[in-house]
């Protein structure tokens, strides 16, 4: 029950922060950081996989409605939600397999790899669908790289801030 409550609050909070604050950021003209994948990143590790997918879809479609972007955020969120177990296994190794993983007890390096994998895949799907043309491959690459750097930075900082509050 507590998990549902926390995630509902996070859901609303992240959407509001994204559309009211971060979407006004235009670093270098076209770099827009995204924080909302944090919800999927921070979901419990033993979450029901169907609930996880539906949640990711709803999250994405809400951002899409605000940005008038069709279904690109929904698709990108779905992909990272679906591939999350794979990334977790890659980043955290055995402790994920044995279900003994505590996110904040894992070493910084593992957390960083996990967040980076999630964000880079998310942004690649997102911008590929947004640009939707092979004529702009270089532009796509630029956008993915720059936006990913900012998003990863933002999310790592937020993760550390959340942890400080809990202690």
């Amino acid at each position: 029950m507590k998990t549902y409550f926390i995630n509902t609050i996070r859901f609303i909070l992240l959407i509001l922060v994204q559309v009211m604050i971060l979407n006004h950021f235009e670093v270098f003209g076209y770099v827009n950081p995204y924080i909302y994948p944090l919800l999927i990143i921070l979901l419990p590790f033993n979450v029901n996989s169907i609930q996880k997918l539906v949640l990711a879809f709803l999250l994405g479609i809400c951002i899409d409605v605000f940005e008038d972007s069709g279904g690109i955020h929904a698709a990108a969120s779905l992909v990272i939600a679906y591939l999350r177990p794979l990334f977790l296994r890659n980043a955290f190794g055995l402790s994920y397999d044995y279900q003994t993983l505590k996110f904040y007890h894992a070493p910084f390096r593992s957390r960083f790899i996990y967040v980076s994998l999630m964000i880079i895949v998310h942004h690649s799907v997102l911008f590929a669908l947004e640009i939707f043309s092979v004529n702009h491959l270089l532009y796509l690459l630029e956008k993915v790289v720059y936006s990913s750097v900012f998003s990863i930075l933002l999310i790592m900082i937020t993760l550390n801030l959340i942890r400080k509050n809990r202690k």
């Binding site: 169907i50 879809f57 698709a75």
Partner: protein
């Protein structure tokens, strides 16, 4: 049968993923093909209110620039008003001249503006209750902005000229050679004017305005100046880079324009609405 059900239960995660992904991709394709997709549109009550709240805080940080822009516009209008000679007035003694409006103009406020994507949209405050509806043109004091594609009661969604789906009829100001204005998806200050015939006298710094062929925008609304051009020798058409007068990244006060006689014109043309 049992086999099939077992298979479905075993792969339920994958199935849910595929179903949701199909919906998401469907919406994406639809947004890329039909730019007035109404399924996922920000012109609804909740998004309008949230974005409107953000904007009402945001506008205080921008008051000075927006005042400058409005003052500039006032100055231009004042100049035009004071320099209208009385001779011109007496030439039109008929009072009907004043009441016979060709274009109805409605002010509106931008509450969300994107310019860093490939296909950009704006959300403006003002909807069907202000008699704003789909297919009306949107301009600012400096040039064109876009076309209304979807209107709810209080908010309307505008397809920006910075959208790879838009194509707007435009011409060289001096000679009336027509072309189509498109965007390549990169620089929010530059647009391309394509299909201008070889015979047109293209010069750097010339002004581009809207052409009179569309029933959405009035003729001679300024768009920008020529910053570069190339002649395609095989086809005999110019491709012209146009630097916009409008700063599309800083929009606040805008005007929605309705051509009052448009319906009549369509009837005469006996044509479907675009």
């Amino acid at each position: 049968m049992q086999q099939i059900i077992l298979f479905l239960i075993k792969n339920k995660t994958g199935l849910v993923f595929i179903i949701l992904m199909t919906i998401a991709l469907g919406l994406t394709f639809q947004a890329h093909t039909y730019h007035n997709s109404k399924l996922v549109s920000s012109a609804n009550f909740i998004t309008g209110k949230v974005l409107g709240t953000t904007e009402s805080v945001d506008q205080y940080f921008d008051l000075k620039t927006q005042n400058e822009i409005l003052l500039e516009e006032n100055e231009t209008l004042r100049r035009r008003l004071l320099n209208t000679t009385s001779a011109e007035d007496t030439l039109q003694p008929d009072l009907d001249y004043i009441t016979d409006t060709l274009y109805r103009i409605q002010k509106a406020r931008v509450i969300s503006n994107y310019y860093d994507k490939i296909d950009n949209y704006l959300l403006i405050e003002g909807g069907t209750k202000d008699s704003i509806k789909a297919d009306l043109g949107v301009i600012s004091s400096k040039g064109i902005i876009g076309i209304v594609i979807d209107a709810s009661k209080e908010f309307s969604r505008v397809i920006s000229i910075l959208n790879t789906n838009t194509s707007i009829n435009a011409k060289l100001k001096n000679t009336s050679h027509f072309g189509t204005l498109t965007w390549n998806g990169k620089d929010p200050n530059l647009m391309n004017l394509v299909d201008v015939p070889r015979s047109a006298p293209v010069k750097l710094g010339d002004t581009i305005t809207t052409g009179g062929r569309s029933l959405i925008f009035p003729e001679d609304v300024p768009i920008g100046v020529i910053s570069d051009y190339q002649l395609n020798e095989n086809l005999g058409y110019y491709t012209i880079s146009v630097r916009l007068f409008n700063d599309m990244t800083n929009l606040k006060h805008i005007y929605v324009i309705e051509n009052v006689r448009r319906e009549e014109a369509y009837e005469v043309l006996n044509e479907e609405k675009p």
